[in-house]
């Protein structure tokens, strides 16, 4: 397969392919962080995760229209405003959903699966009624599309770099929140023992709500960023939900580090196999490997050690 090419060409292709793997890694991290917070820390199986992402994407779409209509001069910077608003919108919806639905189900974690799946259907139909059944086109500022030539042969997509930077910053932000803030300490306490956490004076109700809200907000930011690489339509969230759960479950639900490690290994495996095999085959092999590993190690790559 490679005999026809010079070393420099091959080198360039492999460099770009490596970069493609890193982009995929960042995409997975962005997708999964919100769910890792909600599913990992709270045990809520949030099937509506994709719809919270798409809410962020629609907010970005609205912002792009608003800016191009009223503030064309600032258009190249609208994306940052859109991401902040996406966080606020999805986060607010998350708070509402937690209050209206999730908090009644903490004692029945499996039921959250059905309830949030129903929620995802409702949200999809709301998007469809409001924005139309067709996908909407989000105009991305010119500077974010296109590629940066590194050498004559190697070109790096700018939106890929953007996604990577975003993934790293959000991961750091979540890490700081989780392990350095009072809120994070409370979340982890509740995760370990809800009753004791309440007994020592932690407001578990409010902490839960905030956690769910932040998880959804992070999903919104991810959705906003994905307008650069994917589609924005009522059911686009469904494209991400399987991969998202895969990453979180494979990493070990309760561990944020596990999520990142799992995103890295899945993305690298998939991107390398996609290069050498066909696309569908790569997906099949990735899934098979994951199923195999989970059979041997059902708790995922990283598991918290808890005294049962």
């Amino acid at each position: 397969m490679f005999s026809d090419y010079s070393m420099s060409e091959l080198g360039a292709i492999f460099a770009m392919q490596g970069f493609a793997g890193l982009i995929l890694f960042s995409v997975f991290v962005l997708m999964a962080l919100g769910l890792a917070i909600i599913f990992g820390q709270m045990g809520v199986i949030n099937m509506a995760h994709g719809e919270f992402m798409i809410l962020g994407a629609y907010v970005t779409y609205l912002m792009s229209n608003l800016f191009s209509a009223y503030m064309p001069g600032l258009f190249s910077a609208y994306f940052f405003v859109a991401m902040i608003l996406a966080f606020i919108a999805s986060g607010a919806l998350g708070l509402l959903v937690e209050w209206a639905m999730i908090r009644h189900l903490y004692k029945r974690p499996l039921d959250t699966l059905l309830a949030t799946w129903g929620l995802s259907l409702i949200l999809q139909q709301i998007y469809r009624s409001v924005f139309g059944a067709r996908e909407v086109g989000v105009t991305i500022p010119d500077w974010m599309m296109g590629s940066m030539p590194v050498t004559d042969l190697i070109e790096v997509p700018i939106n890929g770099i953007f996604v990577m930077v975003l993934a790293v910053s959000i991961s750091i932000a979540v890490y700081v929140l989780m392990f350095k803030s009072t809120w994070g300490r409370q979340v982890r306490a509740i995760n370990q023992n809800r009753v004791m956490a309440g007994a020592v004076g932690i407001n578990t109700e409010w902490t839960d709500r905030l956690t769910f809200g932040i998880g959804c907000g992070v999903a919104g930011v991810a959705g906003s960023a994905f307008t650069m690489i994917g589609s924005t339509g009522p059911t686009a969230g469904q494209l991400y939900i399987v991969d998202t759960f895969l990453v979180v479950v494979f990493g070990g639900a309760a561990s944020l580090l596990g999520t990142i490690a799992s995103a890295f290994s899945i993305s690298q495996a998939q991107s390398i196999m996609e290069f050498f095999l066909s696309g569908s085959m790569a997906k099949v092999l990735t899934l098979l490997t994951i199923v195999g590993i989970l059979m041997i190690r059902p708790q995922g790559l990283f598991a918290l050690k808890l005294r049962k």
Binding site: R128, P149, I229
Partner: protein
């Protein structure tokens, strides 16, 4: 705010409140012309004001269909909820427009068309169930419906068992010919071969990279494309063939593979949400399609899909199909105008939407030729039916229930429309079971 659809209108079953007032049977041509813009458009379709009285119900309906002295009921069966609503909404709109125009002209055999709309909900068993409901409970005289091949395959046994009559609008993979279905879109050889010949001749393309979503239509289409490239195009070869699961959103690896193979043409049959991801990532990877190195040729991106992809992300790609909104013939100018009047100025019309629009008109012509609503008589009258008024130009129904139609190549522009750069001189014969391509 909503670029899409006025949902109330699509969902609402009753359209009598929007209809032009001119519904008298046997109305004169002048009266039709006075009836307003919708009727004006309709008048292009050579109104023959047939009187219901000349066609007694007992004679035109011997099989117990839902035909009365002044109405005939048909079914519309598309997904208006679920994943496929994205695509099928346009078809529903086109069918309703055609029905409204036919009614404005006096209907069919003097009978006004009424319709019962059912939602397939993007779920194939639901399609079958609703098809059965339409045929058995509602006794509809024909059905305009389905979009994906999967939904058509699901309803096919129902239509054959209860002898219904389905008009199916989507371009599809062929390999099917049912006595109970009229295929108003192109089958694969019609859509593929002319485009490949064009790109080989005009652009001197020698090497092709075939890419598709992983299901029957892209796979069958690429199979035909590969056979044609290898057997009929001199010195041309396929350098890669690749499928990705539906809904796949990461194409960076395949884009690198394409770079490595340096094909002259990327032949892309990617569908749905993947489409958007593919073109955005192609552009982000620095492949400028306007430079035609490589050329991107697709058969799966209509004007409808470009709205999601964004014109600026697909500018310079070529699409091969039978209809583009930018066609300049008079039929099409009227059609686009009427469509936008009914559904809003921001609507775009893709290939399938136009094919869906043909359904009611083809059925009308066949019923009038048969002088009866009976499915067997309509079927017998159908081969050879012509429409000179189709937006795509002249079409004719083949013995095999597909349409003779021209194939065109369009160049995508930043505004989301196509410039037609090529069309076949003659109508292309439909060939759902192509020999040498299996």
């Amino acid at each position: 705010m909503s670029p899409g659809v006025n949902f109330d209108e699509v969902l609402g079953g009753d359209m009598s409140n929007k209809k032009p007032t001119n519904l008298n049977n046997g109305v004169s041509r002048r009266a039709v012309l006075a009836g307003g813009a919708a009727a004006l458009t309709a008048s292009l379709f050579t109104p023959k004001a047939l009187r219901a009285a000349d066609y007694p119900t007992a004679e035109v309906n011997t099989t117990g269909l839902a035909v009365t002295d002044d109405t005939v009921t048909i079914g519309i069966l598309h997904s208006i909820t679920g994943t496929m609503a994205i695509s099928e909404t346009g078809s529903v709109q086109a069918e309703k427009l055609a029905i409204e125009q036919i009614n404005a002209q006096g209907g069919i055999l003097g009978r006004k068309i009424e319709y019962i709309q059912e939602d397939g909900a993007s779920d194939w068993p639901t399609f079958a169930e609703k098809a059965k409901k339409l045929l058995v409970n509602d006794k509809v005289a024909s059905v305009m419906g389905c979009w994906t091949s999967a939904s058509r395959k699901a309803v096919l046994p129902v239509f054959e068992q209860y002898n219904g009559f389905l008009y199916y609008p989507t371009f599809y993979e062929g390999l099917e010919e049912s006595p109970n279905v009229i295929y108003t879109g192109q089958e694969a050889t019609q859509q593929i071969i002319a485009g490949l010949d064009w790109v080989a001749k005009e652009k001197g393309a020698k090497s092709f990279y075939l890419l598709g979503s992983d299901y029957i239509w892209p796979r069958t289409s690429n199979k035909i494309a590969r056979k044609h490239i290898e057997n009929f195009l001199d010195g041309a070869k396929v350098v890669g063939e690749e499928y990705y699961p539906l809904g796949h959103t990461q194409f960076n690896s395949v884009i690198n593979k394409i770079r490595l193979k340096k094909p002259d043409v990327i032949y892309a049959i990617v569908v749905g949400g993947s489409n958007v991801a593919f073109y955005k990532q192609l552009k982000a990877a620095g492949i400028d399609m306007t430079k035609e190195d490589p050329i991107v040729l697709t058969i799966s991106v209509t004007e409808d899909e470009i709205r999601g992809i964004g014109g600026e992300n697909i500018e310079g790609a070529y699409a091969c199909m039978k209809y583009f909104q930018s066609l300049t013939n008079d039929n099409n100018i009227e059609f686009v105008k009427a469509f936008k009047e009914m559904w809003g100025d921001d609507m775009v019309i893709g290939d399938v939407t136009q094919a869906a629009y043909l359904g009611p008109w083809l059925w009308k012509a066949a019923v009038e030729a048969a002088g009866s609503f009976d499915v067997d008589k309509v079927r017998a009258a159908t081969p050879g039916i012509e429409l000179t008024s189709a937006p795509e130009g002249y079409v004719k129904v083949h013995e095999n229930h597909h349409l003779w139609s021209k194939t065109r190549v369009g160049l995508a522009k930043a505004d989301g429309q196509y410039d037609v750069v090529f069309e076949t001189a003659d109508l292309v014969e439909p060939d759902p079971f192509p020999e040498g391509y299996q």
